[in-house]
């Protein structure tokens, strides 16, 4: 404690403790800043982009593959990060790409978390055959690499943001189901659950109103790490050509587009979207890594 006053320090709420513990680690705060930056860019893309990259009419093909810092043909615009093969301003494209990437990541993780939590809690509370069956399915899901399952799924589903979302949710829910089950198994044997059962509360109420809140902290940590993985996975799928459609490029798609120009020395078309992607993923991982330590009850002082 840094306070030297004689008055006992105010007891902290759990939330305040988490915040103050989190801020102790500079690297984690740095990670959070990166995440905030990525979020800002993603949310405000339409207002802060110098150009609308989807408006084909505004593109001037003479400006194609302009290196970073060059000025557009009509002298109105400076391409700080260069342009791609269709004369799209890379900075605007990255802003919009970040929007798609983060959107896909967030939605898929939230949905997978929802499904996983329900499956995990039901398995833990019901036990017996239900538990065995559900966990067997989870085992099978987890025994195959996510990238391969997603690739196969998309080969069946086809292209599109909705299809990518389905594939990502299907490969991610099992992680949450297993984590939720093991967290719930610990909670199930605690007295408050017994007490609630004695009050003859319906099982659904015990599971979702009593056990769920106590399982959430560990699930949130897993969700942050999974979010980083989901964004990377979506980028990879888009890079491989089975992800988002060309009309709504994510960061992975932009990197893929730049691939063909890489050998001729136009590095910026691939380089800068990759940096943007790395900022988002590294930021989430740095923050999530420390969040795990902060939320871990074993590290309570």
């Amino acid at each position: 404690m840094s306070e030297t006053s004689l008055v006992a320090p105010k007891p902290q709420t759990p939330f305040q403790r988490v915040v103050s513990d989190f801020c102790e680690d500079k690297l984690a705060v740095f990670g959070l800043v990166l995440v905030a930056l990525a979020l800002f860019v993603a949310i405000f893309a339409p207002w802060i982009s110098p150009q609308n990259p989807f408006d084909i009419g505004s593109l001037d093909l003479l400006d194609a593959k302009a290196p970073p810092g060059s000025v557009s043909g009509d002298g109105k615009l400076t391409y700080w990060l260069g342009t791609d093969g269709q004369a799209r301003d890379m900075m605007s494209a990255i802003f919009y790409g970040m929007r798609t990437s983060l959107f896909v990541g967030f939605v898929s993780v939230v949905a997978a978390l929802g499904i996983g939590v329900v499956v995990g809690l039901v398995a833990a509370y019901a036990g017996g055959r239900t538990d065995a069956l559900l966990m067997r399915i989870v085992d099978i899901m987890l025994s195959f690499p996510a990238i391969l399952v997603a690739l196969i799924l998309l080969s069946v589903l086809g292209k599109g943001i909705d299809k990518v979302l389905i594939a990502l949710i299907l490969v991610q829910w099992a992680y949450f189901a297993r984590a939720a089950r093991s967290a719930a198994l610990v909670e199930r044997n605690k007295e408050y659950v017994e007490a609630a059962a004695c009050l003859a509360l319906p099982p659904s109420r015990i599971v979702f109103r009593h056990m769920l809140p106590n399982c959430l902290p560990s699930l949130i940590v897993i969700a942050t790490i999974t979010l980083a993985r989901a964004i990377a996975l979506e980028a990879t799928l888009s890079f491989l050509g089975v992800g988002v459609p060309v009309t709504e490029p994510s960061l992975g798609m932009l990197i893929s587009n730049g691939f063909e120009f890489l050998m001729s020395g136009s590095y910026w078309i691939s380089f800068f979207p990759g940096i943007a992607l790395a900022i988002a993923i590294v930021g989430i991982n740095l923050a999530g890594d420390h969040l795990r330590d902060v939320l871990n009850p074993r590290n309570l002082r």
């Binding site: 690297l27 036990g127 538990d131 065995a132 966990m135 067997r136 099978i140 025994s143 195959f144 690499p145 990238i147 391969l148 690739l151 196969i152 080969s155 069946v156 589903l157 086809g158 198994l185 980083a228 990377a232 980028a235 990879t236 890079f239 491989l240 050509g241 089975v242 992975g252 990197i255 730049g258 691939f259 890489l262 050998m263 020395g265 590095y267 691939s270 380089f271 990759g274 992607l277 790395a278 993923i281 590294v282 991982n285 740095l286 890594d289």
Partner: protein
Amino acid sequence: MLVYIIRRLMQAALVMVVMSALVFAGIFMIGDPVAMMISPDASDIERDAVRASLGLDKPLWLQYLAFVNAAVHGDFGKSFLAGQPAMQLIFERMPATLELVFFSTVIALALGLPMGVYAGLRPKSVGAKTIMTGSILGFSLPNFWVGLMLIMVFAVLLPDLIPGFPRLPASGRGATVNVLGVRLSLFTADGLLHLLLPALTLALYKGALIVRLARATAREVLPMDYVKFARAKGLSENRIVGVHVLKNIMIPIATVNGLEFGQSVAFAVITETVFAWPGMGKLLLDSILLLDRPVVVAYLMIIVVFFVVLNLLVDLLYSVLDPRVRLESRAT
């Protein structure tokens, strides 16, 4: 034990049936493979002839039954495009992938293990902190982008800027030699050069994992009594770390490497695409994009068997190494 193995194999068979049926039915919903194979101005009669020659004129369930019937006799169909048996096509490409995975494992171990042990020995040093932050980067950076950047630096930028800097090859396998009937790049200088960048890309993630694992285990092992005893005996630090500590670190490293082997094969799809490495991952992706169903389904069957066997082996090994692990009764 036997019951356990049989149950697992039956599970695998079920997964194979479900997955193959799913892909079989699903892959044609995206597009028509015949349209991809012949020129768009071919007449309808030609089109139907191609369709009939591939057996695609029959109803889907009949096609699937025919496939299952042939598959249990060991015939997984011919590739629509190459005209070769799909299995043969995959097995031809397999050595390239395995070679890549093997070489990248060697790189990951050679770089990751010393760095992880060092970070475990001196956790407060600047070097250790740099290594740990670096390992988060290794985890986070998307694999394919790292590959692209390696190409940019070592195949384009550096050779352009510094005269005399060797231009590392960025695509293909280079010269190969036949070893026992299998084509390998590992034993020619040109092949090794071609192998370098893709293997480095693939090694990054695994190396980062090994760094973190080695550090954590080293930190766990160092305060133990036998290490203290070795110190008290006056053994040199090199011997303590190199023999006594390292032995204990190798156990989890070996386990994770076994498990990660499958992951690497999966990740090789990406690396192979970036570096145009003619392995089976690239074959899968090309086949998916060209709707070459027999190859996709055959690949799927191989990969299911592969992962089931791999996981089974790991589980069995566990139960042999640690008698406390019981296979039959799942602890709840």
